[in-house]
């Protein structure tokens, strides 16, 4: 985006013309086309014989969080989310068990579970970490975000969801300065807040201050969970640059680890936040496909 396009993106106004609305109405129905989840049938039947159910679902929606997710080791590719309007042209051809490249416009779904629950529960088995990771490497237009969120969340059942998103520093209305510090904030659904109150715990990540709003895919995901009474948290980072910064990456990983530990998921926290993951994630920053806008 040039600086004029950026100004339009960051200072929206409601002055829509009649002609614009009329011109858009003929093709606006395409916003309601659902996303399609495709699964590795053999693996999903083996690891999830009772359907797509997990303890924690993590969805990464920005380049920084996707870099973190890609760096997590011992994950298995389980499926992908195909978004309407997202072309697969230019994507790499993945062979064997290789992961897609950071620049590919894909949305892979990974699992950290190495064995079916019955096997994993046996003494001496591999560490049972019941986590599904969705790494959205393409940009979901804000008009398509509600239906995309519905398409994915209707297919996966989880006890708790964590969404990782970003907002531009120009849209942040709080007192912190994103150019001087790493700003990460949390939003929670009512169900998540209730669980926290019952546990008597205080959230480890500061809440997004009043007066600031988040839009786009992260907002659609959290809104869906709120309306359906599901427990979910959104961690949103305030970014100065689109490609992400190592310091913000580490802060996000630390916040995610703290959040998972506060929910009693120490194993998942250890898998997400360790030296090897951070080193690999730092290398992956800046290699992602360019995201034009966040909302």
């Amino acid at each position: 985006m040039d600086i004029f396009e950026q100004a339009d993106a960051f200072t929206p106004n409601r002055a829509v013309l009649q002609e614009e609305e009329e011109a858009a109405s003929s093709c606006a129905g395409s916003y309601l086309r659902p996303a399609l989840c495709v699964w590795n049938r053999r693996l999903s039947k083996q690891l999830f014989p009772d359907g797509m159910r997990c303890e924690i679902l993590i969805i990464a929606t920005c380049p920084t969080s996707c870099a973190l997710m890609r760096a997590i080791g011992n994950k298995q590719l389980l499926g992908a989310v195909l978004g309407p309007g997202v072309s697969l042209a230019g994507n790499s051809l993945v062979s064997g068990a290789g992961d897609p490249l950071a620049s590919d416009k894909v949305c892979p779904i990974y699992t950290l579970r190495q064995a079916p629950p019955a096997t994993a529960a046996l003494p001496g088995s591999a560490l049972h970490v019941d986590v599904l990771l969705v790494c959205c490497q393409y940009e979901v237009a804000r008009e398509r975000a509600p239906v995309w969120a519905r398409s994915v969340l209707e297919q996966i059942s989880c006890s708790h969801a964590v969404f990782l998103g970003a907002m531009a520093a120009e849209q942040f209305r709080g007192q912190g300065d994103a150019s001087q510090e790493e700003l990460i904030f949390a939003l929670r659904t009512s169900a998540s807040q209730q669980r926290q109150l019952q546990a008597g715990a205080r959230g480890p990540v500061p809440l997004l201050p009043t007066g600031t709003v988040v839009g786009g895919l992260p907002a659609s995901l959290l809104s869906y969970c709120q309306v359906h009474g599901a427990s979910a948290d959104l961690l949103v980072i305030v970014e100065m640059v689109l490609e992400g910064r190592p310091a913000l990456l580490e802060a996000l990983a630390a916040a995610l680890g703290q959040l998972l530990r506060s929910r009693g998921l120490d194993a998942a926290a250890a898998a997400m936040y360790n030296g090897a993951v951070l080193a690999a994630a730092r290398k992956g920053l800046g290699t992602a496909a360019v995201c034009d806008v966040y909302v």
Partner: protein, 298 residues
């Protein structure tokens, strides 16, 4: 439309008047509903979701829930939220994000259809009107306008108009008041201007909602304020004050026992005529125009 609240909460909408904004120019409707919710402190019924509305989330748009002790911060706000005044046939539907480009008509049909199915008695639409499109006759008069779908609501608005007029004593005491300041009550929208708007801007809010209400026979009052984009907090307050006067004048579908015993007609708010109601701005307005900065830098 999906709604977080259960069937018992939806039951509360039956026979109620719902106040909602038409999300358009200068966001005046949403600002006015913000003021009304912060002032009247209705009960939060739940979040509503529509695939035709852009998503937005934030924390603590209003004061913390008073039923929790101690009050807990971090109450999630979504694009569409429903509130109900306990004991009154009055509800608020706040909308914080617009319908998607090209989906205004679809959203209006979805929303009005859902409200009709829930059994609401009528709507009060709060909206901004483009100040650049004012005719000469509108420049020097009150900047508030109303339009009602039936005689009963029109009479209520006219009664509210009389309450909103400054008294002759006030004008005498403060002759320096400008005509605009003196005219803080709503005038009826000129029929020819309404017809022109429906012809030229029928796809833009509030007109899709108005058309849907008329098509489904749902009574409505449209309350608008001419405004230009900028710091519209003042217009929001003014529109909220006008809405309170109209709500106080609209007859309650089921008056309270006290009003029945006295044989008086009771407004939706159950307040006596000309009752003063101090308006409050919600805490979320603190960030309306960006972050504050330390004055020491100058």
């Amino acid at each position: 439309m999906l709604c977080e609240c259960g069937p018992e909460a939806l039951e509360a909408l039956k026979g109620a008047i719902v106040v909602l904004p038409a999300v358009t120019y200068a966001n005046v409707g949403e600002l006015a509903v913000d003021v009304l919710v912060a002032t009247l402190k209705p009960q939060h019924l739940g979040a509503v979701e529509s695939v035709n509305v852009l998503s937005v989330v934030g924390n603590d748009a209003y004061d913390p829930d008073p039923s929790l002790s101690p009050p807990q911060p971090g109450r999630l706000t979504t694009a569409l939220e429903l509130f109900k005044v306990p004991g009154r046939a009055l509800a608020f539907l706040q909308q914080r994000a617009p319908a998607m480009l090209g989906r205004q008509a679809a959203f209006a049909a979805e929303l009005v259809g859902w409200l009709v199915e829930a059994g609401v008695a009528g709507l009060v639409l709060l909206t901004g009107l483009d100040a650049q499109l004012r005719k000469d006759q509108q420049l020097d008069s009150s900047q508030l306008r109303f339009w009602a779908s039936n005689e009963e609501l029109r009479d209520a608005c006219a009664a509210a108009q009389l309450r909103g007029q400054p008294s002759p004593q006030l004008i005498e005491q403060q002759p320096e008041l400008s005509p605009l300041q003196q005219s803080s009550f709503a005038l009826e929208l000129e029929p020819e201007i309404k017809a022109e708007e429906l012809e030229l801007h029928h796809s833009l809010p509030p007109w899709p909602l108005v058309q849907q209400c008329e098509a489904r026979g749902l009574p409505y009052v449209l309350l608008g304020c001419f405004s230009a984009e900028g710091d519209n907090a003042g217009e929001g307050m003014r529109l909220a004050a006008a809405a309170l006067q109209v709500l106080a004048a609209i007859r309650a579908p089921a008056p309270s026992a006290a009003a029945e015993a006295l044989g008086t007609e009771e407004g939706l708010l159950g307040l006596p005529a000309n009752a003063a109601f101090p308006l409050r701005a919600p805490p979320s307005w603190v960030g309306l125009y960006g972050r504050s900065f330390p004055m020491e830098i100058f």
